[in-house]
């Protein structure tokens, strides 16, 4: 099904998002596959319990055997029996800069993935389609690295104090002014970890008596931040504007659940690009709704900052909207800037409030100086302020790579989710055995990909995920495409039926309410 845009006047460019439906036969076979694995799991557990098979799990201490067990048997069922079989596709150690090509340490397992040993050999020049390196700033040479080296020798690696005490360096102030200028807002504040930015600042902004409307597929950090805040959480269907509107209307009309008092604030949590689906948020419609119903918008641009928009300014620039319409802009520096950390940007009152009341400013160490310098240099490069056009060229290269790669994969017949302009490309695999096989086959052919299954995705929708980068040249993409084609034929994952369905918007369905009050 292709999504057409209603409210088309709000969009200045075509919005093309597709989530092809799972073929019925494939869904049935996937369930059967999981069923077989579960049966085998029970059998193996039975054999381990009766000591017919050796138990290779780590076990509790002798002195503590009569304590209450730390893990319930069932919690670990998935871990022991399904995850263990294909565990070698994850946590692959690398030993070079995570650029377009990477060196991986070879590891083998002689006991079916229970333990790994490193052979000592290094697999060189694996094409890296798994790291979040959208603009190619993960480099070990170049102006960013030199600037970071200078700052490292001057300032040292750590800071040893919190922002509010003695950890606020002049470098941090410089960075925050630069971030505010980059995004086109009044001011910004930076934090040492992207995950912590969400989980520590959402509780500072909303509390009991407020309502949070969060997208179905929001990241764990947003969910944790929403839970820690103590506000009521309601979930709307992924990127579905009718669902969001219905929730907004019901919330304002009916008020709080038991007391019927009006809500203090309503906060909408969305992400710029969703990392598992590759879809882009329908920002023009969300902003229109937010203005109509007087709620606040929190936009998490972890993946979209630097990757979307002609100037790399993120999803707001991509849609041609005004950054002042978004109340709280949040993002991370890990993906497009090749560093670490997160930021929140918005009006001066918001940032002043966060400087005083954010959990991170009072209790957590500030960012490390060489990391700050890397962000400053790479941001200036993207803005063009360092005197070159490298930044602009990279943003454009990424956009071209995205369109080319997605088009070729669709032509080959794979089911690809997500928006045409998103540099995250999920390729559907569905069956559990193919997850492991895909990862291993691609590595044999010197290409590193990321495969994801349950619990990061719904149980039958496991996928392989490609992350494109401006550092990928056309030759690298062509090599990768050739190998993907081969492996796709080998594993028979070319499920797309390429049927062009007449354009209908997704029919409105009943929303699910989930209220959590801690």
């Amino acid at each position: 099904i292709n999504h057409i845009v209603h409210n088309g006047a709000l969009y200045k460019r075509p919005f093309n998002e597709a989530f092809e439906e799972t073929p019925m036969l494939v869904a049935v076979l996937t369930y059967v596959g999981y069923g077989v694995l579960t049966l085998f799991g029970y059998l193996r557990d039975f054999m381990r319990h009766w000591k017919i098979e050796k138990c290779q799990n780590a076990t509790e201490r002798e002195e503590q055997k009569d304590f209450v067990p730390l893990y319930q048997d069932f919690e670990n069922f998935y871990n022991r029996n399904l995850y263990m079989r294909i565990r070698d596709s994850w946590n692959r150690p690398i030993c070079s800069v995570p650029g377009a090509k990477v060196d991986m340490m070879e590891r083998v397992s002689h006991d079916y993935n229970w333990t790994f040993t490193y052979t000592g050999r290094v697999i060189k020049d694996v094409i890296n389609m798994g790291s979040y390196n959208y603009l190619g700033f993960a480099q070990k040479t170049g102006p960013c690295q030199e600037a970071a080296a200078k700052v490292l020798s001057q300032y040292g690696a750590g800071v040893c104090s919190t922002r509010q005490e003695m950890g606020n360096l002049d470098k941090h102030e410089e960075l925050e002014k630069l971030v505010a200028r980059f995004l086109g807002v009044e001011s910004a504040m930076t934090y040492g970890m992207g995950f912590a930015t969400n989980s520590m600042n959402i509780p500072a902004l909303v509390g009991k008596g407020c309502l949070i409307l969060s997208d179905e597929l929001n990241h764990a950090s947003l969910v944790l931040g929403a839970r820690l805040s103590g506000a009521t959480i309601r979930i709307f269907k992924h990127n579905n504007m009718q669902s969001l509107e219905k929730l907004l209307r019901d919330a304002i009309v009916h008020g709080q659940p038991r007391t019927r008092r009006p809500w203090k604030k309503i906060l909408i949590l969305v992400e710029g690009i969703y990392s598992m689906e590759g879809s882009i948020v329908r920002l023009p419609e969300v902003i229109a709704l937010k203005k109509k119903y007087k709620s606040y918008l929190y936009l998490d641009e972890a993946h979209s900052i630097g990757a979307l928009g002609p100037g790399g300014r993120g999803v707001v620039e991509y849609f041609g909207l005004n950054p002042e319409d978004v109340d709280v802009m949040m993002g991370t520096f890990t993906k497009s800037f090749g560093a670490a950390g997160g930021y929140i940007a918005g009006k001066k009152e918001l940032i002043d409030y966060l400087r005083t009341y954010s959990h991170s400013a009072a209790y957590a160490t500030s960012m490390s100086p060489p990391v700050v310098e890397q962000i400053i240099t790479s941001m200036k490069c993207i803005m063009g302020e360092d005197g070159t056009t490298i930044g602009r060229a990279r943003v454009q290269q990424l956009a071209e790579n995205t369109i080319y790669f997605r088009r070729r994969l669709k032509e080959m017949g794979f089911i690809i989710y997500g928006n045409e302009d998103s540099p995250i490309v999920p390729l559907m695999l569905y069956m559990p055995a193919k997850i492991g096989a895909f990862g291993r086959e691609m590595l044999k052919r010197n290409i590193g990909v990321v495969v994801v299954g349950f619990p990061a995705t719904p149980i039958i929708e496991s996928r392989a995920r490609f992350c494109l980068s401006a550092a990928h040249t056309k030759e690298m993409l062509d090599t990768a495409l050739k190998e993907v084609n081969e492996v796709g034929d080998l594993l028979q994952v070319k499920y797309s039926r390429r049927r062009l369905v007449p354009l209908l918007d997704r029919p409105f369905d009943e929303t699910t309410y989930e209220e959590t009050e801690d």
Partner: protein, 419 residues
């Protein structure tokens, strides 16, 4: 139709309330240059008594050159979480070294100190489990407990009798409902050296309680790692306790190791679980390799020079003695704790006025060349808010003259401001 009216009429609160311009936490001190032994705060050069740089490794040349080498090899960022090509050989090496140093089976690294304990606790303790925690636990522990949704039982600070009372109460509850008791996990969460009070926890008694009532112990060693013990291994070495008796030790690398991030160490049975269920580990980018290399080098230095711990403790003792008897201020903390608090002996009545008074003391000291800071808390969020205080941090780099100068300056400041 009336729905439309309701929608028209509803007015939300402003997103954030305005903050008064003179709020003490709003205007930060700006440090120009590195926050090392001599620090330039707001344009003035001072001796640094406020950064947690206990072993003086922030400015160490060997640490910096190890980080430089790593920067040349790996660049700055890791561009991914540990599961997706974010695991570097430096991470694996650092985990091995930490496990070997602490003499445990395994260690796991987080990229942010706060997130370490805040992700470790919810990985094991879920809804329905019981956690006994000290009142003076730091904010990161409180957030971890809130995220875990377990039943929290606070016991008075360092009061083993109170803890035993709570444990006995729980035992009688268990006898009423043995089926439920068999699946409810119990934990005690304590800190080695408390950040909020500078005290040490009575670990031998805790071990006895552990085996008597069958509770697991989680120990948070952010301040005591690299400070206590003959070789800096923390409170277990200080008391001579078998490290396997503690289920989980968590510490952050931002104090003694002068890097960024945190780690947990313990038996593989416990630590391995966090690799799939620690939120700050699975869903967040890994630690930049240059910081991991800096931490490895710092560990090397700690292992090669075991006498710095004795030197640090001697300096702490010296200043602890020198600060006794200041009229108006009392010293809170053990004599070997490198992070002390100076609290007002008599409060002025309101917390705001106390904070203002302490600020004047701090400003007096800053103007005369000693950089100090007040201990910052989020007043509305803490469960048991400690009284306002000045934080004094002792590092190995401070000379005896500087320690004496700081003590006499504080006496002067207290005289001038408080009398």
């Amino acid at each position: 139709q009336e729905k439309e009216e309701l929608i028209e009429e509803w007015q939300p609160e402003p997103l954030v309330p305005p903050v008064p311009k003179d709020h003490p936490a709003l205007n930060y001190n700006i440090v120009s240059g590195p926050p090392t032994h001599i620090i330039t705060v707001n344009g003035k050069e001072c001796i640094n008594f406020a950064s947690f740089n206990f072993l003086g490794l922030l400015n160490n040349e060997k640490v910096k050159s190890a980080a430089q080498a790593s920067l040349k090899k790996y660049g700055v960022g890791t561009c991914g979480p540990r599961g997706f090509y974010g695991t570097f050989d430096v991470h694996l090496e650092l985990e091995e070294r930490l496990a070997k140093f602490m003499r445990t089976e395994e260690a796991i690294i987080y990229s942010y100190g706060f997130a370490t304990i805040a992700s470790a606790i919810p990985a094991y303790s879920k809804r329905g489990d019981i956690v006994f925690v000290d009142e003076a636990a730091c904010f990161a522990i409180q957030k971890g407990l809130q995220a875990s949704r377990s039943n929290i039982k606070l016991f008075k600070h360092n009061d083993m009798a109170d803890l035993e009372r709570l444990l006995k109460e729980q035992e009688t509850e268990d006898q009423k409902n043995p089926r439920k008791a068999r699946v409810t996990r119990r934990f005690i969460v304590v800190e080695g050296l408390y950040m909020n009070t500078g005290d040490i926890c009575p670990l031998p008694e805790l071990i006895k309680l552990k085996y008597k009532y069958k509770v697991r112990i989680f120990l948070e060693e952010s301040l005591s790692f690299g400070v206590l013990g003959e070789h800096g291994r923390g409170i277990t070495e200080h008391f001579g306790i078998n490290i396997d008796d503690i289920d989980l030790i968590s510490a952050n690398m931002e104090n003694s190791l002068a890097s960024i991030g945190g780690f947990c160490c313990g038996r593989s049975f416990i630590i391995d679980h966090q690799r799939l269920s620690g939120q700050g580990y699975c869903f967040s980018a890994s630690l930049p390799p240059l910081l991991a290399a800096a931490a490895i080098e710092a560990l090397n230095i700690m292992e090669d020079n075991p006498d710095i711990f004795q030197t640090l403790r001697a300096k702490c003792g010296r200043i602890h003695k020198a600060l006794q008897g200041i009229s108006g201020l009392k010293v809170v903390g053990e004599s070997f704790s490198p992070a002390l608090h100076l609290q007002l002996e008599e409060s002025c009545g309101s917390r705001e006025n106390d904070v203002k008074l302490l600020k004047r003391v701090v400003d007096y000291c800053m103007n005369s060349g000693i950089a100090l800071t007040q201990a910052r808390y989020l007043e509305k969020e803490e469960k048991c808010l400690p009284p306002p205080s000045i934080r004094v941090v002792i590092t190995v780099e401070q000379t005896e003259q500087e320690l004496d100068k700081a003590a006499s300056l504080l006496k002067e400041a207290a005289q001038a401001v408080l009398n």
